[in-house]
Amino acid sequence: MNAPQKLTLKDFSTDQEVRWCPGCGDYAILKTIQKLMPEIDTPKENTVFVSGIGCSSRFPYYMETYGFHTIHGRAPSIATGVKLANPELDVWVVTGDGDGLSIGGNHMMHVLRRNVDLQILLFNNEIYGLTKGQYSPTSKVGTKSPSTPDGSVDMPLRPARFALGAGARFVARTIDTEAKHMTPVLKRAHAHKGASFVEIYQNCPVYNDGIFDYIKDKKSAADTRLLLEHGAPLLFGQDQQKGLRLNLKSLQLEVVTLGEDGVTLDDIVVHDETNLVLAQMLAGLSTPEFPEAIGVLYCQASESYEHSVYEQIKTVRAKKGIADFNEVLKQGHTWTVS
């Protein structure tokens, strides 16, 4: 292998024409990731992007790495196979709310609980874009779409909550157009051994435009966004005057204001990424009652699945010694006919 040379964003861009709609949040994510790649110490040839079906899943075609655009919902399974074949590969899964949580919900659950060492980026735009605008499993109740002209009636799920419920050991949330936030989050996801789940709030300008304006808009963001930092108190609002306190009677988080009713900084919950119970509470927070948690909700170090698989193989090999397959064929009760 040649001595590593400094790569740039351009080295990670393909010659393929990018075919998302003008103004799609996916452009911003693509740019952020192409820019991030040279900063990650993985050889380009060891990087693999795997996707399913949907707008987000076109992603691999635009990354000058190895890539596999597979079938609807199955990217986590294909990626699991890639990692089992070669654990040295650095595998990213790009999926969406329909791909990853509707048709592929089962695979998502299992890849997370198994803890396969992947970075799973779920672009959540709360709509089916590629099939022209039907509501998705993350669409808010009342979403009007071609398949729900009178508004959807079923409860959406929250991807980060789902991931925690499935046993994910790294769960984060970030926003499509905010490279400054997304870049360090993705670096953390990349550094984590095991399945890292990153939900990216992503705008679909054609079928669900402005769905995340409440949290992206600078005017409202202070009150709707809870920026997480490990070891820091859960504060938000203009001048960080509001915070989250644990109500010991209801065992729920509640919004309080510093200086009001005797509330001090000591009353505010301090973010601990390794606390699963806290992460689950944070993942469930929704506007307008609460700000929504942005950043790393949960990070718990553990062994990855494929690492354990290969460790087990090593143990078996050590126990059995270097076996001759021809000899194995002769095992069991044999007899000779002369």
């Binding site: 890539g67 294909i78 299992h110 000779t336």
Partner: protein, 624 residues
């Protein structure tokens, strides 16, 4: 103690016994499969040729005494070539009334019944549907019946070991095995060793079982059996010299896949989801991790095939395995593997269908699915194994085709082959021609669309190779660059080349041979898969009687060997016996425009030799 023997006057025993069919039948909890497998081992070591047919219910532990819970193990062994598990039963061991009533119809007139009198209680008789006790009412007068109070005998024989009543009664199968081993002059030492190994952590259970085995043997030997029941001595069979072992189809298929991986010099990633009767392949491979096999039990059938495809993209050979219903679920992903032209092996251990059907019974009804069961024009090689031992060679062949032609390959086995065993001439892997995979490493001129000019195989460039970064996917690709292309002419060209690649395989497989008989003649029986044994014997008997009949057995079902059409044209009549409603026969008719006849059986049971013999005689009679 009552020992009763009834021999019908009109039945003559053939003194020159050269082959015998024994069936052990009892409750699914009676240990009949274990009894059968131990008897099989002893029989193989005795030097007989043999074939076995385990037939068990889908229920893991059905209520005791229920007819639907009867588990049976049949073995056919003899001094002559044995290729089926036998048509009719000579010796039936019936551990209870349900076992008797469900198996009696297969017993030959004058056949021997060994029954446990203690199990013929009023309750069990009612449960089996008997109005009166068949051991007493004369309804078994056409058979030879040995009635023994086996349960009482067993309890007495294991008394010194202090077992509870429940555990003591469980030794019943070994007592019975001991008795049958005496009948056929089998050596008990292998069974004793097996018991010691199986119950290594519970020596008192091991000793009790061994005591029961020996007691059953002594019981038979020490003249407590009435005269007329003699020791059957089956002469040794004449088989090719070499080292032999017993192998089920599952075992030889698993070994064949490993062997294929070694000949291709590529590690294997085996991803599967449990389903009867295919699961044992996963179990077997999971025991051989030391041979570059990674096994993965996925969350479902789709995940299993997708992980296998991902593994092939990642630079190992992905293999997945299932039975018909699971293969249906994998269909979309198999088409992805066709579209991306990645190597993949898919093993279908067929079972009775449709839907859940009869999971533990055998059938050949997934041929249409294998040939046509996907969306769009997704042609892929289909090959079938014909005997338990043949599974080894066919597995190697599936790996060769997948890796040499960058294509998914469908390997058809079935429930009968998977569970049946036969003596297997242990292969020597050094005698096989290797077919090493050449992963692309050359950056100059690389395109993921590059093909081998001879095989038309798409280049295999694995992630981790510097300079060969590329994207593949399910969207149609440019023939020249591999980039996404919606160009109409390009789609035509890609569809054509994908088909041409598979058609071209006919130039890389052996020509079709006649497995028995002549290359032209009055009648050819054309089979595929596990019907081999029954067709083989039927044709042999026919030819011995002077009938002009030959046997052609097809391993390569897609593409066919290139001489197949010409070969079939050399016969006046073609008869295609299949365990489905006529799937291969329709392909032969449409492809070769011939008036092939069909013989079909869809009962969950393999063909009997007699059924095929009758069809031959009917056809030759008509055409004579």
């Amino acid at each position: 103690m009552s020992v009763v023997e009834k021999v019908s006057d009109q039945v003559d025993q053939d003194p020159a016994v050269s082959a015998v069919v024994v069936r052990f039948a009892g409750d699914s909890g009676d240990g009949m499969q274990l009894t059968g497998s131990n008897f099989t081992e002893a029989t193989a070591l005795h030097g007989n040729d043999l074939a076995t047919f385990p037939d068990f219910p889908a229920e893991i532990r059905a209520p005791a005494g229920a007819t639907f819970g009867v588990s049976a193990f049949q073995i056919y062994f003899g001094s002559d070539e044995v290729t089926t598990a036998g048509d009719d039963v000579d010796v039936l061991v019936a551990m209870n009334p349900a076992a008797l009533i469900t198996n009696l119809k297969d017993l030959l007139p004058g056949g021997l019944i060994i029954a446990d009198a203690d199990a013929f209680t009023d309750k069990n008789l009612v449960r089996a549907g008997y109005q009166s006790n068949p051991l007493e009412d004369g309804s078994l007068d056409g058979f030879r019946v040995i009635i023994i109070e086996i349960t009482k005998q067993v309890i007495a024989s294991v008394e010194p070991y202090g077992l509870s009543h429940k555990f003591a009664v469980r030794c019943k199968n070994m007592w019975t095995l001991g008795l049958v081993m005496w009948l056929f002059d089998r050596d008990r030492s292998v069974t004793i060793a097996n018991l010691e190994k199986k119950f290594a952590s519970k020596p008192e259970i091991a000793q009790a079982n061994i005591a029961a085995l020996n007691a059953g043997h002594s019981y038979a030997e020490t003249a407590e059996l009435p005269s007329g029941v003699e020791v059957y001595r089956i002469p040794r069979a004449e088989v090719a010299p070499g080292l032999y072992r017993n192998a089920t189809g599952t075992e030889s298929l698993a070994y064949g896949l490993i062997a294929g991986g070694r000949l291709a010099e590529v590690p294997l990633t085996f991803a599967s989801y449990p389903i009867t009767p295919a699961s044992s392949l996963l179990h077997t491979l999971a025991q051989h991790k030391e041979f570059d096999v990674v096994t993965f039990q996925a969350e479902d059938e789709i995940a299993a095939v997708c992980a296998a495809i991902g593994a092939s993209f990642g630079g190992t050979l992905g293999i997945t395995s299932s039975s018909g219903p699971g293969i249906s679920l994998k269909g979309e992903a198999i088409s992805l593997a066709c579209a991306t032209e990645l190597p993949l092996v898919i093993v279908n251990t067929q079972r009775g269908g449709p839907s859940t059907g009869m999971p533990t019974k055998t059938e050949q009804s997934d041929l249409n699915q294998a040939l046509f069961g996907r969306h769009a024009d997704t042609t892929l090689p289909v090959i079938a194994s014909s005997t338990p031992a043949d599974c080894f060679d066919v597995a190697i062949e599936s790996v060769r085709l997948a890796t040499q032609f960058s294509t998914p390959v469908l390997l058809l086995s079935d429930g009968y082959l998977a569970n049946a065993s036969e003596p297997w001439l242990v292969p020597d892997l050094t005698q096989f021609e290797p077919f090493p995979v050449k992963f692309e490493t050359e950056v100059e001129g690389f395109s993921p669309a590059n093909r081998d000019p001879e095989t038309l195989a798409r280049v295999w460039a694995k992630p981790g190779t510097p300079g060969l970064e590329h994207r593949i996917g399910g969207i149609e690709k440019s023939y020249t660059t591999g980039d996404i292309s919606y160009d109409p002419d390009n789609h035509q060209k890609m569809t054509d080349v994908r088909k041409a690649k598979i058609d071209n395989i006919e130039n890389f497989i052996p020509e079709q041979t006649v497995s028995q008989g002549t290359t032209t003649g009055k009648l050819a029986l054309v089979g595929w898969g596990s019907t081999f044994g029954a067709i083989h014997q039927a044709v042999r008997r026919g030819r011995a009687q002077g009938q002009d009949v030959s046997h052609i057995h097809i391993r390569y079902l897609l593409p066919f060997p290139k001489n197949l059409g010409e070969l079939l044209a050399g016969f006046d009549e073609i008869l295609v016996p299949e365990m489905n409603t006529g799937q291969l026969v329709n392909v032969l008719r449409s492809q070769f425009l011939i008036d092939a006849k069909q013989l079909n059986k869809v009962s969950g049971q393999p063909f009997k030799i007699r059924e095929i013999t009758e069809a031959i005689t009917t056809l030759l009679g008509e055409s004579a």
